[in-house]
């Protein structure tokens, strides 16, 4: 898309503004500030009206830099713009030189190296100077229904609050929610932008658009990034929309609509909410808030810790990193729209280096305690520290890890947290990587919060553009939000596709307000979070026991050749068959996990021949009747289900035993072994359950999984969360 760009001189200096509809801008800066509003009905631009403008307008000069410019260039110019005193004396030719110098990189990217004047652009022209409209301004002086436009701008800004949408998505939203605004959307959006309620930017832009400042960090700082997903952008194609021969587009988030250099990205600003805990920590409302949810002691303790985390006031001093070299390396500008400066994937090693250096900084020794919320406040840096000379990283939302074992009742624990934030007028997001979890969670949340309208978002959801205070969505949909939420809860953060996807992590962080809070929820947090929690950098709470107060069943092991060779010989190890017979005779439902989809069918066939009369099925991600199979397994029609990691989480079957074939396979890491083991013994009536790792090798992940389960049991026992202590120790 191409836009109009102009420079404006106000009291405080020059500013460059992007315009989608120049008439609105002229109105806003010149006419709107005068008496013209009263004369509007006469619809005549008389001489005395112009005199009136002269007297009252606070704007001294407006220079049209370009009537139609690729949006990417305009954003680059605007974001890199710095007002200087010389600009007051600029002639149109000087402006032209300034533009050419600022857009040097962009012009170089065009296949024929052109100067700005030769690229078919018009000369910058004066639109308004010393209270007189310039010659070119005649076309801008039009009469609009100002009041109606203001109302529409308010409606659109409300609808876009906290959203981050591409133009195509805006069109969909308008079609659904505000169809009457569709024809003149550019004027309405422009007015909302001028009012400061909408930020206009481009989908892909330079990470650091300020000219000159990129030199320190080298070329990396000038590379293009997607402002929606934070990925580096390398592909440029000729574009018929902006006319550039090298318009970049982001390949990482294509599935969510194409974000490109000339694609308009709209970010609606959200209202600031009440800061938490005005009266210090005195008002921390644990007891009364927790009572009505019927939580188990373990759940209650952890939820209390999380509530204290939410109620904790923001650290007074902005967290700074003490070590000077780290700050030098990592200084990131926090000017308009540069929040996407460092994407997690590219800068990971820098982050790690920073983390490392932070430990060497004097006086920053985090305090560790399970469930405590210290250790987050930053270190005061004395002013002589060079860190002060360079702006440090943007304030990041505070994070909290709720580490609850499988079957602990995580969902119940988030209810009091949601209630707390909603009661304070905040906006909440519960995000999870998996769509089926979203669909399963939606009715439960609706039951607990009957008075709230819950917006349930996923690909193809009918509520995609709905406004609400309580959102439930897949992690991909977080890309459509920007600084929107006071509390973001990420459930199952170690699940595919969120795990190891820097794009989604970026989107999640961007969706949370800088002063908002993050709560991660997992039974098997990824290693880096566990380490951070262990060293006290990440406040966390553990729920080591299941809601029914029985310890987690510990996996045992059966040695067997790899499944591949068992299938070749058409036989399983006798120990496995004996153990399974025991499970069958005790009436348990049997999960059999295999590492490969191609194993499912032969394994099912082999089991069928072994256990005739037993209903045995297999299911995988490629199975169309997966949900049917799971349902009939739950209702004990199917007794033995052979499956892959697709069912490793989120499935609760009352009385079940778990067999993991090829547990030494590299497909099963520690987390997925723990999750699969977590399918057993979930109900109160059958808390024991059998878990068997069937493998040829005893690998590190199996060892780790067993150790993790034992440790959680030990912690639970120590804290007295287990009901039948004596029976368990045996």
């Amino acid at each position: 898309m191409r836009v109009c760009l102009y420079a404006i001189r106000q009291e405080e200096g020059w500013r460059v503004v992007i315009s989608l509809d120049r008439r609105v801008d002229f109105w806003w800066w010149v006419m709107g500030k005068t008496k013209y509003g009263e004369r509007e009905k006469s619809r005549v631009l008389s001489r005395d009206y112009l005199d009136g403008m002269k007297a009252e307008s606070a704007v001294k000069t407006i220079v049209l830099l370009s009537g139609s410019m690729p949006l990417g260039w305009a954003v680059s110019l605007r974001d890199g713009f710095r007002s200087t005193g010389e600009m007051d004396r600029f002639k149109p030719g000087d402006w032209m030189k300034y533009i050419a110098a600022s857009l040097k990189q962009e012009l170089e990217c065009e296949q024929i190296p052109k100067s700005w004047s030769m690229s078919g652009q018009d000369m910058p022209t004066l639109l308004w100077a010393n209270g007189e409209p310039g010659k070119a301004a005649v076309a801008w002086l039009t009469v609009m229904d100002w009041e109606e436009l203001s109302l529409e701008a308010k409606a659109i800004a409300d609808a876009l609050e906290g959203r981050s949408l591409l133009e195509a998505e805006l069109q969909q939203l308008l079609a659904e929610r505000l169809p009457e605004l569709r024809p003149a959307w550019r004027s309405v959006v422009q007015l909302a932008h001028l009012q400061g309620r909408l930020q206009l930017t481009s989908g892909v832009a330079q990470a650091d658009a300020r000219p000159g400042s990129g030199r320190r960090a080298g070329r990396r700082a000038r590379e293009l990034r997607c402002r929606r997903c934070g990925s580096g952008v390398h592909r440029r194609t000729p574009c018929g929309s902006c006319g550039c021969s090298g318009c970049a587009y982001c390949e990482a988030c294509l599935a969510m609509g194409r974000s490109r250099s000339c694609a308009l990205l709209l970010r609606g600003s959200s209202a600031r909410t009440v800061p938490p805990a005005v009266g210090g920590t005195a008002g921390v409302p644990t007891g009364s808030l927790l009572d009505r949810w019927g939580l188990s002691p373990a759940q209650r303790e952890a939820a209390g810790a999380a509530l204290r985390f939410l109620a904790q006031p923001l650290p007074q001093a902005e967290p700074r990193h003490g070590a000077a070299p780290a700050s030098l390396l990592l200084s990131r500008r926090s000017n308009g729209g540069l929040q996407g400066a460092a994407a997690p994937d590219e800068h990971r090693w820098l982050h790690q280096l920073r983390r490392l250096l932070r430990h060497w900084a004097p006086r920053e020794i985090p305090v560790t305690a399970t469930g405590s919320v210290t250790g987050i406040t930053g270190v005061q840096v004395n002013s002589a520290n060079p860190a002060d000379l360079f702006p440090s990283l943007d304030p990041r939302p505070l994070r909290f890890l709720l580490w609850a074992v499988t079957g602990a009742g995580k969902t119940e624990m988030i209810f009091p947290l949601l209630r707390y934030v909603l009661d304070r007028g905040g906006k909440v997001m519960v995000a999870t990587p998996r769509r089926d979890v979203v669909l399963e969670l939606a009715p439960r949340l609706a039951k607990v919060f009957p008075e709230e309208v819950i917006a349930v978002l996923y690909g193809g959801s009918p509520q995609r553009w709905a406004g609400s205070r309580l959102f439930l969505s897949t992690t991909h949909q977080l890309m459509r939000f920007y600084h929107a939420f006071d509390l973001v809860i990420i459930d199952e953060l170690d699940a595919f596709p969120y795990h190891n996807d820097p794009m989604l992590a970026f989107a999640a962080e961007a969706s949370c307000k800088p002063e908002g809070r993050f709560i991660f929820l997992s039974a098997t947090p990824p290693n880096n979070l566990r380490r951070e929690a262990g060293s006290g950098r990440l406040p966390h709470a553990r729920v080591p026991a299941r809601f029914h107060g029985h310890p987690l069943p510990v996996p045992s092991r059966i040695r067997m050749n790899p499944v591949e060779s068992c299938l070749r010989r058409q036989t399983f190890a006798p120990a496995l068959i004996t153990s399974m017979e025991k499970s069958i005779s005790r009436g348990a439902q049997i999960f059999v996990f295999v590492s490969r989809i191609r194993h499912i069918e032969p394994v099912v066939a082999l089991f069928r021949s072994r256990f005739p009369g037993l209903l045995i099925e297999g299911t995988s991600s490629q199975d169309k009747d997966r949900s049917d199979h799971v349902l009939s397994f739950r209702s004990t029609n199917i007794r033995l289900l052979v499956t892959t990691t697709i069912l490793e989480r989120g499935v609760t079957v009352p009385k079940s035993d778990v067999y993991i074939l090829d547990a030494d396979s590299e497909m099963f890491d520690e987390a997925s072994l723990v999750q699969m083991a977590g399918r057993a013994g979930r109900s109160k009536d059958d808390p024991q359950g059998t878990i068997v790792f069937v493998s040829a090798e005893w690998t590190r992940s199996q060892r780790g999984a067993v150790r993790q389960i034992r440790r959680m049991n030990a912690i639970a026992r120590k804290n007295g969360f287990l009901k039948e202590n004596k029976e368990v120790v045996k």
Partner: protein, 348 residues
């Protein structure tokens, strides 16, 4: 507790495993290996930290190591590329298509020999033999592939989602079909003298261009023109913006296409300029040129202008037929006969 210890759940144990266990015991004590490095564990002397020395137990050595080593690893053994279409790592590269994996390449439904001579369908075609339908303005159509579900997905990703990296794959496929077409025509026509005067494509409306940013048919045509050595000309414009063709049935398609396409302003001049342009092998004063070649200029006007029209998908042929009709009009303005050939990427 001990009964559940995984080491003990099998009586037999390989000697190497037993050795390893003993070694572990010696190094780390009976409790279990790597106990010391568990984050919860603190050595007593490290907890006293008043001198300001860094708390080494808190340093994330593994991530630090990873931070230093993984770029080196990547440098020494760059990770393989994922297949553009299925996302799996490419093991065996296909010649000419480095972006896609072997199994994806194998499943491309190439149309090697069309059954229908007119529309290039690989199966019997009732449409072309049907009587009572409107006039056909083109000579024949050839397509690179049949439009199956997989090809449909590829095109949707390219065209609607804007994944332009797929564009080059589709263009190359069209280029292959163009070579095949010209070979076929050279065999059919008198001794190998077939040449297209120009290549053109089905345009998109201006609105769609602003929205999408590219015209898939033009990108395909670029490659075809390069393969054939003919000029690529912008001869047509799309006037009206219609709903996406893919959502309509046959009857709606035929009805909606009336008057959508027009000749681009100055199309006949453009075409004139290119068909009268002398080419090297028709250079009149060459000592190798025979008399008939010398007379080429005059003889040319009696020959029809041969144009190749490119589109992405041929379904009913209504779009290309409408375009072909307009191209005939353009050639009529030049007072010349025209032969329009169609090349599409897919035939549904």
């Amino acid at each position: 507790m001990i009964m559940n210890m995984p080491h003990n759940c099998n009586e037999k144990e390989s000697p190497s495993r037993a050795r390893k266990r003993n070694w572990n015991r010696q190094c780390y004590g009976e409790v279990g290996e790597r106990f010391r490095f568990r984050p919860e564990y603190r050595h007593p002397c490290e907890t006293v930290n008043e001198s300001g020395t860094p708390p080494y137990s808190l340093i994330d050595w593994s991530t630090a190591k990873e931070a230093v080593l993984s770029p080196l690893h990547n440098l020494l053994a760059p990770p393989g590329l994922p297949c553009l279409t299925c996302g799996k790592m490419i093991s065996g590269k296909v010649k000419g298509y480095p972006e896609i994996c072997n199994s994806c390449y194998i499943s491309i439904p190439w149309i090697a020999s069309p059954r229908c001579d007119t529309c290039g369908r690989p199966v019997g075609c009732p449409d072309c033999s049907r009587t009572g339908k409107g006039p056909r303005h083109f000579v024949l159509n050839r397509s690179a592939v049949s439009y199956n579900a997989m090809m449909k997905e590829w095109l949707a990703r390219y065209k609607f989602r804007g994944d332009e990296s797929l564009g080059s794959v589709l263009s190359r496929m069209t280029g292959v079909a163009a070579t095949r077409l010209i070979k076929e025509l050279r065999v059919k026509s008198a001794p190998g003298k077939f040449h297209f005067d120009a290549v053109t494509y089905v345009p998109v409306s201006e609105e769609r261009m602003l929205e999408r940013g590219f015209n898939q048919a033009r990108n395909l045509a670029e490659e075809a023109a390069a393969v054939l050595g003919s000029p690529l000309l912008d001869l047509l414009v799309r006037f009206r913006h219609t709903e996406k063709q893919s959502f309509k049935n046959r009857w709606q398609r035929l009805r909606d296409l009336q008057g959508i396409f027009r000749a681009a302003p100055g199309a006949e001049d453009l075409l004139q300029a290119f068909i009268t342009r002398p080419t090297r092998n028709r250079f009149p004063y060459s000592i190798f040129s025979s008399e008939s070649d010398y007379l080429n200029g005059e003889r040319h006007s009696s020959l029809p202008i041969r144009l190749l029209l490119i589109d992405d998908v041929y379904t009913t042929g209504s779009t290309v037929n409408t375009c072909a009709a307009v191209l005939h009009e353009v050639c009529d303005l030049l007072g010349r006969q025209a032969e329009i050939y169609i090349l599409t990427w897919a035939r549904s």
